[in-house]
């Protein structure tokens, strides 16, 4: 009897928290999304009325929502390959030698990933500053006139994404370095004896063996871009003119600034559905890949 209960004793604290704050809220969001719930609910719950799919109809007609979805898609389409290629490249180079110098370089690449986004955004906001920022000064040295890093709608997307790429590579470099440790040395030595160069070894042995790590990083990076929030929140607050408003920023503003809980919940259910579909597609592709 004791033995049958044991696993449940071990999983229950974590499962309870996960269900309360991870799974259950989605059901609550689904229910709220069919109501007109807003701040007045805190005064009197009778203010909450069932309104069916009205929130969803309104959402699909809302140009701000589509702009946010479009921005998020754009960030993901450019951001995922950028982060995966960059972190894989740096990891391969860092793995080239196990010398003290190479190992001490690693920490430099990791620090953006581990430091608080608020601190990071303050520093970048200062670098991007048009009045006394360092970046514009450096550009002025080579004759480039003032750049509106955060106030030009197109450029702001790039500036915000650059901070996210800079921050996003660190953890993925760690994951790739870890995976590289799992590549059997014998394979590489055998390939060297057969006369394969560095380039050939990397592309025909190392990268194929890292398929799982690359897949894992691609999926988690995609999800991270679909949830993109912190950088635009602190740097631009979604501006200028909504140019850096991601889906998550849109939800935060509708929910906590405008207190449209029902409307924001409908948006969050749509975001959830999009993420679920994309993740399933990635898993399906992965499975097809395994059949080979």
């Amino acid at each position: 009897m004791r033995n049958r209960l044991t696993p449940y004793l071990f999983v229950s604290p974590a499962m309870l928290l996960l269900i309360t704050f991870g799974i259950f809220p989605i059901l609550v969001a689904a229910v709220i999304s069919t109501t007109n719930m807003n701040i007045s609910a805190f005064a009197d719950w009778n203010n909450v009325k069932f309104i069916g799919v009205d929130n969803y109809t309104k959402l699909f007609a809302d140009p701000d929502f589509w702009q946010a979805i479009g921005n998020t898609g754009l960030f993901a389409v450019f951001g995922v390959p950028a982060i995966v290629v960059l972190s894989l490249g740096v990891a391969l180079l860092l793995n080239h030698s196990q010398s003290r110098f190479f190992r001490s370089l690693r920490a430099f690449y990791f620090i953006p990933a581990i430091t608080a986004i608020v601190a990071i955004s303050l520093v970048w906001g200062y670098l991007y500053n048009t009045q006394f920022g360092l970046l514009n000064y450096l550009f002025s040295l080579v004759g480039v006139p003032q750049v509106q890093w955060l106030s030009d709608p197109l450029l702001a997307k790039f500036s915000v994404a650059l901070v996210a790429v800079w921050r996003g590579t660190g953890l993925n470099i760690i994951i790739f370095l870890a995976a590289l440790q799992g590549v059997p040395k014998e394979y590489l030595e055998a390939a060297s004896l057969d006369g394969a160069g560095e380039w050939k070894k990397t592309f025909s042995i190392v990268i194929p063996l890292m398929r799982f790590a690359i897949f894992f990083v691609s999926v988690t990076t995609t999800i991270a871009w679909l949830q993109f929030f912190d950088e635009p929140f602190v740097l631009t607050d979604g501006g200028p003119l909504g140019a850096t408003t991601s889906a998550s920023i849109f939800l935060y503003k509708e929910g906590f600034r405008l207190n449209q809980f029902g409307y924001a919940s409908a948006g969050s259910i749509v975001l959830f559905a999009i993420i679920a579909v994309i993740t399933l597609i990635q898993l399906r592709v992965r499975r097809a890949d395994d059949d080979y």
Partner: protein, 279 residues
């Protein structure tokens, strides 16, 4: 013989080139932090001049002093440390769950583990409003526990624990049980010590996420007494947009402790990831 020597020579040249490329990349990556540190010691006038000065001409420690005397950063620091400590309780829960998923057969294991993985893809912004309402219902808004609770366990961490703990030989556990050790004692004295590499990773990750947590403290704490460093810092952004030096000093207070923790533990972090089956 000669081919060997030219090969070694070519290899050394390649390593040198890669070293230079990586070194330059590392400097560029770390540059914003260097800029943060030098600015933190500049007098205000110097931090807003154009063209910018690289090193402070009249270094001053006044901004760090101001954070802890005139602004309430001492209190924010204590709150942040408390949130991190609460996070370590969550770490224990996740280790226990990972162990059960790795080493026990039980009814419901499959769907429970599926739930664990599913939570990895659910953005906090989806669950933010309901979670706020739930915490409000539990009367936990405006408490440190309320700040820490929603992110106390993560699917990713449970997944890593499970991946690692499946590699612990079952015979060791059987031996401990035969010797009469209870289940929790087996966990505490056999499983946890054998899981040191993955524990090191998780301790660092838990420390980092607790230390840096921003969204929940921002939403849950309306009382300034409960602000964490990140919320205090974000407010400084709004109030004092004209004094970069003070801002950079505050940012440095947040960044330096985490850097120290990470530099000490980074070797274990990479090792732990390597052993956790992410190959």
């Amino acid at each position: 013989m000669t081919t060997d020597r030219t090969y070694a020579k070519r290899r050394r040249a390649l390593t040198g080139t890669i070293g230079i490329v990586l070194g330059v990349g590392a400097l560029i990556t770390a540059f914003p932090f260097l800029w943060m540190l030098t600015t933190a010691f500049k007098p205000q006038r110097e931090s807003v001049t154009f063209p910018p000065t690289i090193l402070p001409e009249a270094p001053t420690f006044q901004w760090f002093q101001m954070l802890f005397t005139e602004l309430d950063f001492g209190r924010y620091l204590v709150n942040t440390i408390l949130v991190v400590l609460i996070g370590f309780i969550g770490l224990m829960f996740m280790a226990m769950a990972g162990y059960a998923f790795a080493k026990f057969e039980f009814r419901g294991r499959r769907w429970m583990f599926f739930l664990v993985l599913a939570t990895m893809m659910i953005p906090i912004q989806v669950t933010m409003i309901p979670t706020y309402l739930i915490l409000n219902g539990m009367k936990l808004t405006n408490t440190l526990v309320g700040i820490a609770l929603p992110t106390l366990v993560s699917g990713f961490a449970i997944f890593l624990f499970r991946q690692f703990m499946t590699t612990i030989p079952t015979e060791m556990l059987e031996a401990a049980r035969l010797d009469g050790a209870g289940e929790f004692r087996t966990f505490w004295q056999i499983v946890l010590p054998m899981s040191k590499p993955i524990l090191a990773v998780q301790i660092v990750l838990t420390f980092i996420s607790g230390w840096n947590s921003f969204l929940w403290p921002l939403i849950i704490a309306s009382d300034q007494k409960l602000y964490t460093l990140s919320v205090g810092l974000a407010l400084l952004n709004q109030q004092l947009a004209v004094n970069p030096s003070l801002q950079m000093a505050a940012a440095a207070v947040m960044v330096i402790p985490i850097l120290i923790v990470f530099i000490i533990f980074q070797r274990y972090v990479i090792q732990g990831f390597a052993l956790s089956g992410l190959k």
